[in-house]
């Protein structure tokens, strides 16, 4: 097991290096002089010479690449020219919002998608099945940004005054603030350092933070703000998960051992959940893992709509402000995250299906 994980980690290294190379190459492909591309009108010859020297752009390309990799390995992701802050700091500030949104979307799509898929498979060709599949097809075809806008319109304006009204923007109602859990617990944290960053990171996730300080009013407010964006981001994965569950379950339900389990008198529900679902899970885990890319892509589009200041929003703002460093660094971070996630998915196979041989 350990050897397998180690080997998978080792084989990920070329892919990770490739990711760094692609982002490095992309930055070098900016047409024209990078100094003028980044600094714009402020760029004079003197400033540019200094800029080129400082960023090592006068060195040969392979040397530049090595410096770039070295910097990233040391956790230096560069600086945002627009905000004058290190990208790592921005990451600690912004990633929790996106992570919270992605997790909420994932929970939503799994909690609804899997049961829908199971019901469709068990009641194959029934009205529920046909209805689910029609909805799944429409769901897969839905542009995330459109769905987000329409949800905001329906739940914030059309349903205004009803109990179903939901806020269309922000993470908390105006005036509300969730005190960080470490302050509430009276912990003294240093000024900087990894631990402090980690705690700040966790406290930025409103749902977790309000649970940690056990404030149900704040939790409810945070959840209410999370519902619409999470539904918008989660709809496409939900549709994919429902379809996958259905076809995977249909395959398994037709097999002999399921019939045998029924024949020996086990109740239908038990056979579906304990015998069939467990074996249908394997392709599902892959799909859910791969959907995480869709969650992140969806987050870029959704955050701009719902006024959430997460990674997606900062990517969008950096694109419009031509703050390339931020776009590049966040792309690296997300891609690396994605590779690690795929690794976890691969490893989880061995737990779900002991037949999967690790070698």
């Amino acid at each position: 097991m350990t050897t397998y994980i180690l080997r998978r980690l080792l084989t990920s290294i070329p892919v990770l290096l490739g990711i760094l190379f692609v982002t490095f190459a992309l930055a070098r492909l900016i047409p024209g002089d990078p100094c003028r591309a980044i600094l714009g009108e402020k760029a004079t010859d003197v400033i540019c010479d200094e800029f080129i020297r400082r960023h090592g752009l006068d060195k040969p390309i392979p040397t530049q690449f090595i410096i770039y990799v070295k910097e990233i390995l040391h956790g230096d992701l560069g600086t945002s020219i627009r905000l004058g802050k290190p990208v790592t700091e921005l990451l600690v500030e912004r990633l929790p919002t996106t992570l919270e949104l992605s997790l909420a979307a994932m929970t939503f799509s799994i909690l609804i998608g899997i049961p829908l898929g199971i019901i469709s498979a068990v009641r194959h060709n029934s009205a529920i099945d046909v209805g689910t599949m029609v909805l799944a097809n429409v769901g897969v075809s839905m542009p995330v940004f459109w769905l987000g806008l329409m949800l905001a319109y329906i739940f914030a304006l059309v349903l205004k005054g009803t109990p179903l009204q939901l806020p269309p923007s922000g993470r908390l109602s105006p005036g509300l603030m969730i005190p960080p859990f470490y302050d509430v617990w009276g912990w003294q944290l240093g000024k900087e350092g990894f631990v402090k960053s980690l705690f700040v990171f966790i406290s930025q996730m409103n749902v977790i933070n309000s649970l940690l300080i056990w404030r149900m009013d704040l939790l409810w407010d945070a959840l209410k703000h999370l519902i619409l964006p999470a539904v918008a981001v989660g709809t496409i994965p939900l549709a994919i998960i429902a379809r996958m569950t259905r076809s995977s379950m249909l395959d398994v339900l037709g097999q002999d051992y399921v019939r045998a389990a029924r024949a020996k008198g086990l109740p239908r529900g038990m056979v579906v959940i304990k015998h069939a679902l467990r074996n249908a899970l394997l392709p599902l885990v892959t799909i859910i893992g791969l959907s995480f890319g869709a969650f992140l892509g969806g987050a870029v589009l959704t955050e701009t709509i719902f006024g959430l200041s997460g990674v997606g929003r900062i990517m969008y703002d950096s694109i419009t402000a031509r703050d390339y460093g931020v776009v590049q660094s966040f792309t690296v971070v997300i891609a690396v995250f994605f590779v690690i996630l795929n690794l976890i998915v691969d490893i989880s196979y061995t737990f779900l299906d002991p037949r999967v041989r690790l070698d």
Partner: protein, 325 residues
């Protein structure tokens, strides 16, 4: 009718002879005939085909059926206001007001005409990106699969790297560098989708190259270029057709997303994503300007998804037996 029958009998003398001898004959059906028949048996695929036919018709006839020029500003031409609600005479809109069935947009243009022209652009976007990606992806995948060894490793590891990025984010990064614009956005989406086609082609080429007819070609002295592109590739096309059809749906969705972010088609181009992006802050005051473009995108993507799913089921020999039940 009779003439037609005579002609068809003339074309198949053997059938005619057998029938003349009083034997019952059944027409033989080609592979594509079977696929076509299976496709038409699936309701969802038929729905997809109908929607697609409808969209193609709109795209082709937009010049004639659009009531206005899609970029014409109607200030001073008609008594209309900015972001005016839809006015449909049949639904009780006063006759003295000009009819705009999808309302007026933020620049006082007819939304309906813009939506119609948008169909043309979206279909072109889908087809062109996928064609580009298929040509390059198939070429790379075919070479990797056929030659194997170092070539295979280098190509496919590079594809792995491209696949490691969430596709929309990589497309965004590429357009950021190339600069915003429809052509650059298309290029970015095409580049991002190359790995999918390379993988699919490689997998099929790997299995087809072991078949006897390939061996026969090799025995007859065919060069590798001829064997690969003349013999193997034509026999590896079916999975590509399915992936390509579903790929058009993704490409249209991604192109709309890039345009929505301001990285794709630039105003005043009547592109659905751009139209939506321009009016997104008006969703509470003028929801029709957000609803119609988004609905149009969804309908187009849905059509390709339904068709792609249908084609997959029709082409899959495993499902074929089940489908015949």
């Amino acid at each position: 009718m009779a003439a037609l029958k005579e002609e068809s009998i003339e074309k198949r003398p053997k059938v005619a002879r057998l029938e003349a001898e009083g034997l019952r004959t059944t027409e033989s059906i080609s592979f594509w005939g079977t696929v076509w028949r299976r496709l038409f048996r699936r309701k969802s695929a038929v729905v997809g085909l109908w929607i697609l036919a409808f969209l193609v018709l709109i795209a082709l006839t937009a010049d004639w059926i659009a009531p206005y020029d899609p970029v014409q500003v109607l200030i001073g031409v008609e008594p209309v206001k900015m972001r005016q609600k839809p006015c449909i005479h049949l639904l009780g809109c006063p006759e003295d007001q000009p009819q705009h069935i999808m309302g007026i947009d933020g620049n006082v243009r007819d939304q309906f005409s813009r939506i119609l022209y948008g169909a043309r652009l979206s279909l072109l976007v889908g087809l062109s990106t996928v064609t580009f990606a298929i040509i390059i992806g198939t070429f790379l995948g075919a070479i990797a699969g056929y030659l194997g060894g170092v070539v295979d490793n280098v190509i496919m590891r590079f594809m792995d790297v491209l696949l490691a990025f969430p596709s929309l984010l990589l497309a965004i990064a590429i357009v950021t560098i190339l600069g915003p614009g429809l052509i650059n956005a298309l290029l970015a989406i095409a580049i991002v989708s190359i790995p999918t086609y390379a993988r699919v082609t490689r997998a099929t080429v790997l299995s087809v190259r072991e078949m006897d007819f390939v061996e026969a070609s090799r025995a007859m002295g065919g060069g590798w270029g001829y064997i690969l592109f003349g013999r193997i590739l034509p026999n590896s096309l079916t999975p590509l057709i399915v992936t390509g059809t579903l790929g058009i749906a993704t490409a249209i969705l991604d192109a709309a997303a890039l345009s929505f972010l301001g990285l794709g088609a630039q105003p005043p181009t009547p592109e659905w994503g751009t139209m939506l992006g321009a009016e997104r802050n008006q969703v509470f005051t003028a929801p029709h300007l957000v609803f119609f473009p988004g609905f149009a995108i969804m309908l187009t993507v849905l059509a390709f998804n339904l068709l792609g799913d249908g084609l997959r089921d029709a082409l899959d020999p495993r499902l074929a037996q089940r489908g015949e039940e």
